[in-house]
């Protein structure tokens, strides 16, 4: 499910959005949103994962910080968060950016030295693991309870 969260000018918005699913996937733009939506539809998970279009690759840190401040996250209603990194032609750079994002988070998670490893827990009941597949790096928070 692609979230109706959008980048409309704030003044035109009467109400603000809440999170509908307990699993969230943040993507950089509409191409990724459409692509992953099609995958989720194909595997029957379109109602289980909420895709949020951040509207730009440079907004990850701000959006992740905003997301982790939401009541849905702090109260545990959100169980999993993933952030898709478009590695373009430099996977190492994307990995560094992903670990940099982890460092910026207030949860003091361990920073992985390589992709595809479990990196830690949040609030005692959330895992994080990190994976990178060719041109795309992705890290994910996942509930362990």
């Amino acid at each position: 499910m692609i979230s109706n969260v959008s980048v409309d000018p704030p003044k035109s918005r009467g109400v603000s959005a809440t999170i509908a699913c307990d699993a969230i996937l943040l993507v950089e733009g509409s191409d990724e949103a459409d692509f992953i939506e099609a995958i989720l539809l194909n595997i029957g998970l379109q109602e289980s994962i909420e895709i949020i279009n951040m509207g730009g690759k440079d907004k990850k840190r701000r959006v992740v910080e905003a997301l982790t401040n939401m009541s849905a996250f702090t109260l545990g209603a959100v169980k999993s968060v993933g952030v898709v990194f478009d590695a373009d032609d430099n996977a190492k750079s994307a990995f560094d950016k992903a670990t940099g994002l982890l460092k910026d988070l207030k949860y003091s998670l361990p920073i992985p030295e390589e992709p595809c490893v479990i990196v830690g827990m949040i609030n005692g009941h959330v895992f994080m693991y990190f994976l990178m597949v060719r041109q795309t790096a992705c890290w994910k928070l996942s509930a362990c309870k």
Binding site: V5, S6, V7, D8, P10, K11, R13, V15, S16, A17, T18, I52, M54, G55, K59, R61, R62, V63, E65, A66, L67, N69, M70, S71, T74, L75, G76
Partner: protein, 351 residues
């Protein structure tokens, strides 16, 4: 300036820390999360007198007479000390503590509001066994306070030169000009040849030309000149302008201290909120005052964020109170970037 506050064993808070605190602070959250209780906790920091403490603390609530002393304590348990501790930028602490050595007797007296007198002390002096002790300490180490003992009633101590934090509070109820407002305006007028309030209010009401104190039949009131044939009482202005005028008087008279406003959006049209924040931000900075206000308003949060984002220094924070799964209330503080992204993405920030 206060940079953080920790509240312990007070009302709905077992322990609540809000950090970092900025020049202007908005407190959001669902109903019954303790937004007004945060204001009450801050309000206590300015108290070193022997008040009827229950009545004093609950000034922000309409039905405060129904609340007894034990309601000040977390889960009504007076076994533990109630404490409000604020840290300043140098690491100094301002701390207010209230404790009872006999909860049961204190409760019994507190259930008899008719025994309160204007000083509060006598209400507890009647208590046959209990003792109530309040103290407030400053970063310098100086301490003032009072106690009520079972044998001899009340006593208090206040070192020479002890200056409690200056705090002015405004409840959510409809604004009325009272003697406090007139005293504050009088003090402002006496301190300078210009009426410093005027330019701030002119931003909201450009017709305003003069603000004065007038006496009629021995009763003083504040009059304003808006270009009519004669001045009119300030209370003739709209509710929103009146509320802002009261806040400004509070800010200008609380130099170096704190101003508390409950439900700041009440009576304010959304189209002028941003202008009001500009005025409050300017006045608070000039007077070196910190502002804490509660709100349920999305427009109010956006307007405050925009005003400070457009200023040289983003001296603003939104703090939301959430009740966690274990029942404890936690404060989530938004940075500039987090709030900016939340607004842009339409993410709910009010709880």
């Amino acid at each position: 300036m206060i940079t953080s506050i920790t509240i312990e064993n007070f009302r709905c808070f077992r322990t609540l820390t809000i950090d970092p605190i900025k020049r202007v602070n908005l407190i959001a959250g669902s109903n019954n999360m303790g937004k007004t209780a945060v204001l009450e906790a801050l309000w206590m920091l300015g108290s070193s007198e022997n008040h009827d403490i229950t009545k004093y603390v609950t000034k922000f609530r309409a039905n405060s007479n129904e609340l007894t002393l034990e309601w000040l304590f977390y889960e009504k348990s007076t076994a533990n000390c109630l404490q409000v501790k604020a840290l300043d930028e140098n690491g100094g602490a301002i701390c207010y503590r209230l404790r009872s050595d006999s909860a049961g007797d204190m409760q019994r007296v507190a259930e008899q509001p008719a025994t309160y007198d204007e000083h509060g002390a006598n209400a507890y002096r009647a208590n046959p066994a209990g003792i109530l002790v309040a103290e407030v300490s400053q970063p310098s180490g100086e301490c003032a306070g009072w106690s009520v003992s079972p044998s001899g009633g009340a006593s208090s101590s206040r070192p020479d030169g002890f200056k409690p934090l200056r705090i002015v509070g405004f409840a959510a109820e409809a604004a009325q000009i009272n003697i406090d407002d007139i005293d504050r305006l009088s003090s402002i007028i006496n301190q300078s040849s210009d009426n410093a309030l005027l330019p701030f209010l002119q931003i909201l009401e450009p017709r305003l030309q003069r603000i004065t104190i007038v006496t009629h039949n021995g009763n003083p009131y504040i009059a304003v000149d808006i270009g009519l044939n004669k001045s009119i009482p300030m209370i003739a202005l709209g509710e929103g302008t009146l509320r802002v005028a009261k806040w400004l008087l509070g800010i200008m008279s609380a130099g170096g201290g704190i101003v508390l406003v409950d439900e700041i959006e009440n009576g304010i049209h959304y189209s002028v909120i941003k202008r009001i924040w500009k005025v409050l931000a300017l006045a608070a900075t000039q007077a070196d005052v910190q502002v804490f206000a509660t709100t349920h308003s999305w427009e109010c949060i956006i307007a405050a964020h925009e005003v400070f984002a457009e200023s040289d220094f983003y001296d603003f924070a939104l703090h939301r109170l959430d009740r966690m799964s274990d029942g404890n209330i936690k404060a989530v503080t938004y940075s500039k970037d987090a709030l900016d992204a939340s607004i842009e993405m339409g993410m709910e920030v009010r709880g």
